[in-house]
Subunit: 192 residues, 2 copies
C-alpha cells in the first residue's frame, strides 16, 4: 500500500471547502451553490452527500470538538503525571490545531449558535470537557489560584492561541515557538 494519504472522498472534499467558505463569509453568507461550485458540482448535488446545509456545519463543529478533546485526553495520558509537561503538550497540540485547521478553529467559536439545539448541546459539552482538561492541569500547577480565575485564564489563552487565523506572516515553526512562549508567559503570570 502507498504511504501517501488516500484520495479524499467527496464528502471530505465538500467538508473542507464548506469550512473554508463558512470561515470566510459566515454560515449565512455562503450559499449551497457556492459550496457545490467549490468542489465542481452544482448546488443541489450536495444533497446526495448531506441532509442539508445545517448538517455540514454540524458535522464540522462536532468533528473538531471531538478531535480537540480526544487529542487533549491522549496528551494528558501520554505525558504522565508531570503537570508542567502535560500543559506544554496541551499547548503544543492546540497550536498545531490552530495552525493546521485555521478555518475550523474560526468556525468553532463563531458559528456555534447556528446549530440545532441538539448539536449545539453536544458541541458545548465537548468544548466544556476540553476546557476542564486544561483547568485541571493548570490548577495542579497553581493550587493557590481560584478555579474561576483559572478558567478565565484558560479561555484567555485559547483566545491568544486562536488569534493565528488573522495572520500567516511568520514561518510555521517560528509562529509555533512564539505562541508557545506567549502562552507560557500568560500562565506564568497566574501566580506571579
Amino acid at each position: 500500500m502507498s504511504t501517501r494519504a488516500a484520495a479524499p472522498t467527496r464528502r471530505e472534499q465538500i467538508l473542507r471547502e464548506a469550512a473554508r467558505l463558512f470561515a470566510e463569509r459566515g454560515f449565512h453568507g455562503v450559499g449551497v451553490d457556492e459550496i457545490g461550485a467549490a468542489v465542481g458540482i452544482s448546488g443541489p448535488g450536495l444533497y446526495r452527500h448531506f441532509a442539508g446545509k445545517d448538517a455540514m456545519l454540524a458535522e464540522l463543529l462536532v468533528g473538531i470538538s471531538e478531535r480537540l478533546l480526544t487529542g487533549g485526553r491522549r496528551r494528558v495520558e501520554e505525558a504522565g503525571g508531570n503537570p508542567r509537561e502535560v500543559l506544554t503538550s496541551l499547548v503544543e497540540g492546540h497550536i498545531d490545531f490552530a495552525l493546521d485547521d485555521r478555518a475550523l478553529i474560526t468556525l468553532h467559536d463563531r458559528e456555534l449558535d447556528r446549530l440545532r439545539e441538539a448539536d449545539r448541546k453536544l458541541v458545548r459539552q465537548l468544548q466544556r470537557q476540553y476546557v476542564e482538561l486544561w483547568v485541571a492541569v493548570v490548577r495542579e500547577l497553581h493550587p493557590e489560584v481560584g478555579e474561576t480565575e483559572v478558567r478565565v485564564c484558560v479561555h484567555a489563552v485559547f483566545g491568544l492561541l486562536n488569534s493565528t487565523p488573522h495572520l500567516a506572516v511568520l514561518g510555521r515553526d517560528a509562529t509555533e515557538s512564539l505562541l508557545r512562549r506567549l502562552a507560557d508567559g500568560a500562565f506564568g503570570a497566574l501566580s506571579g
Copy 2:
C-alpha cells in the same frame, strides 16, 4: 444642566440594539424587523434613520475603530515617554473597551468582511494604525525582538483580551486585573 448622560437618541438606541443582535446571531442572521422590534418600532421604520442594514454595520465598525484609535493615541500622549507606562495604559484602555462594549469587540473582528469595499478599507486602515501604536511601544520595550514577531505578539494579546466576550463570570475589577496580569505575562515572555 444635569450631570447624568442625556437620553439616547433613537439612532443611538438602534445602533446599540443592532450591535447586540449582530454579535449574537451574525449580520446575516438578524433581520431588520428584529432590530426594529428591539427598539419598539417595526422593520421599515428603521429606514428613517439609516440608509440600510449595511449602513448600520458600517457605522458600528467605523465608530469602534475610531474610538479605539483615538483612545489609544490619547493614552500614548498622556503617558509621556515611558514605554512601560504607555503599554500599561494601552492594555487598560483595551480591557475597558472589551468589558464595556463586548458586542462591538465581537463584531470588530467577526463581521468586517460584510462591509462594502470603501468602508472595509477605512476600518482596516484604522485597525492597522491602532496596531502600529502598540507595535511601536512594544518595540521600544523589546528592541532586540523582530518587528514581525512583535506584530504577531500584539495580535495574540488582542486575542487574549478580546476573549472576554465568552464569559462574564468573574467580577468586573477582578477580570480587569487578571487580564492585565496575563497580558503583562505574555509581553514579558517576548524576550524571555
